[in-house]
């Protein structure tokens, strides 16, 4: 049984806020999430109890920490329903997306090939392909969005053609929060011979990921958006694809042998992509984060986040001065503007009430041409948010005026 007040006790920042008279209402969970005590403990336990490097099997401590590190890989694999040798630890979703763009783009993209993406894409997934396209004289095309910013199977079908070699797509857009029908899109892309790279940064923390069932080729996500530490993320790739592409960088830990003539024998995936000492403590923290998510369960997470979103939307849609951009999305992302008030002024006003949201273009600069606004306010919910917190932002948005925003500087 999900009990939000109990869950909030697991998060030191929320616990502290509960004991303080100063409100701390964190509604920027798409940017990063707060960390439960179990994750913090896993990170500090590495430094207090282990502290040594991984993969130095000659002494017990290293053996133990390596074992713990590799167990995390198993935990991740089972969490996303992949095989363990298909899980590469990276520095985060951006690093994962760059790794694929470099590795796959370098090897397989030819002149006149097309990389298909969407107008709602995050900079981290599309910018690496801009570079591939320019180096390989390939081009980028975009799936047109519906008027309210969605990607439909129909639109996607129309955008696919034989020259498309790669589809880069976010499972959940970080601006509009729509969940794309990834399994169906993947099937269509595969029927044209294209591979599908999924940016799962916004989806993996909130809905059950099934890489095998969806048949996607690559998936990138970050630990810090799923209650884990910063500085670590994952690249999932089908094993034969990981085996066929080159690593983004080389170094210790990724090679099996090399000689003075420059011959390098790389290790097998996933290790060939993991040169250098990784953020060991963050990887161990990721394990704790996944265990935390699993202890709550995606059924409860989806239900609670959806209830909060519905509650918020039902109130906000009554306000004539609030423009909602994605009332029908199903994820916990609510995008809006207070008409006549720049998003940044509004966000700073909300901050004066202890409410944290994101203002701006959310690293998806192309989308804003579709929305016809340079920037928006984004509320992004997590299961640890409450109806009372929603009430606080509803009240603040009910009474917001440009004058009140300006008065904050006096």
């Amino acid at each position: 049984m999900f009990e939000v007040n109990k869950v909030r006790q697991d998060f030191p920042l929320l616990k502290k806020a509960g004991e303080s008279s100063k409100p701390l209402i964190y509604l920027d969970n798409a940017a990063t999430t707060l960390k439960p005590q179990s994750v913090i403990d896993a990170v500090t336990r590495y430094y207090t109890d282990y502290s040594v490097n991984i993969h130095r099997g000659d002494y017990d401590l290293s053996y133990q920490v390596s074992d713990y590190y590799e167990k995390t890989r198993k935990t991740v694999a089972s969490f996303i329903q992949a095989d363990v040798n298909e899980v590469v630890f990276t520095a985060g979703a951006s690093a994962s997306l760059n790794l694929v763009a470099y590795g796959y783009g370098e090897k397989y993209i030819q002149e006149n090939d097309v990389i298909l993406s969407t107008e709602s894409e995050h900079a981290s997934s599309i910018l690496p392909w801009f570079r591939v396209a320019s180096q390989k004289k390939a081009s980028i095309e975009y799936v047109p969005l519906t008027e309210d910013g969605q990607i439909t199977i129909e639109n996607f079908k129309h955008a696919m053609h034989a020259k498309v070699k790669v589809v880069v797509i976010a499972h959940i857009s970080n601006v509009l929060g729509y969940v794309v029908p990834i399994k169906e899109l993947t099937e269509i892309a595969h029927s044209f011979g294209a591979i599908v790279i999924v940016d799962g940064a916004q989806s993996v923390p909130h809905i059950q990921t099934r890489v095998k069932d969806w048949d996607i080729d690559f998936l990138a996500f970050s630990a810090h958006k799923m209650y884990g530490p910063t500085g670590v993320g994952v690249l999932y790739g089908k094993y034969q694809l990981l085996d066929s592409i080159e690593p983004y960088y080389l170094g210790g830990g990724s090679n099996a042998r090399f000689d003075r003539c420059g011959n390098i024998t790389l290790k097998n995936p996933p290790y060939k992509f993991e040169a250098g000492t990784p953020a060991i403590e963050a990887v161990l923290g990721l394990k704790a984060a996944i265990e935390y998510i699993e202890s709550i369960g995606f059924d409860a997470i989806e239900k609670v986040e959806h209830e909060l979103r519905t509650y918020l939307i039902n109130h906000l849609k009554e306000f004539k001065h609030i423009k909602l951009y994605n009332p029908d999305a199903t994820s916990g992302i609510v995008t809006l503007n207070a008409i006549g008030i720049p998003s940044q002024d509004a966000a700073i006003y909300l901050n004066s009430k202890g409410i944290m949201v994101r203002a701006g273009n959310h690293c998806a600069k192309i989308l804003l041409d579709v929305l016809k606004t340079p920037d928006t306010i984004r509320i992004s919910l997590s299961f640890y948010n409450t109806k009372e917190e929603c009430d606080a932002i509803i009240e603040a948005l009910r009474e917001i005026t440009l004058e009140k925003c300006i008065d904050l500087i006096f």
Binding site: P342, Q344, G360
Partner: protein, 147 residues
């Protein structure tokens, strides 16, 4: 401190007026203008300021772009303050403005309507907004001096 500065209603009115009706709010194709584009990574501000400086006089200043209330109003006020001033006078105004932002003693006479921002320095998250236009005009003046 003058009475005007104590009355937030008047100061707010100044800011609202310059936000809703920004002065010199356009750009030009004229090649005699210096141009400074200021885009902030952490906020929405993305403005371009252009200035025509001839015979050591700031003949014209204009700007356009996407920006919050504080950025728009402060840049609008800046254009009005600097047009017609000598380069030295313009530099002195900018210097005085930064003093105010840093909450140091400053000359109210010189800053005129810009005193609406005399408290902004207390809010770290708005200092960038309140100075973006002034930073841009500094760039223009610097470019002019390098010619």
């Amino acid at each position: 401190m003058s009475d005007l500065m104590k009355d937030p209603l008047i100061l707010r009115q100044i800011i609202m007026d310059h936000y809703e009706y920004p002065r010199n709010h356009h750009l030009t194709e004229d090649e005699h203008y210096h141009k400074a584009h200021m885009a902030s990574e952490s906020c929405i501000d993305d403005i371009t300021v252009m200035a025509k400086i001839e015979d050591n006089i700031v003949k014209d200043v204009c700007f356009d772009g996407v920006a919050c209330t504080i950025s728009t109003a402060s840049t609008s006020i800046m254009t009005e303050l600097l047009i017609g001033k000598t380069v030295e006078e313009a530099e002195a105004i900018v210097k005085e403005y930064y003093k105010m932002i840093e909450l140091l003693p400053f000359d109210e006479e010189v800053l005129q309507e810009a005193i609406a921002f005399h408290q902004v320095g207390k809010q770290a998250n708005r200092i960038k907004c309140a100075t973006i236009g002034f930073k841009a005009i500094e760039e223009c003046i610097k470019e002019h001096k390098h010619e």
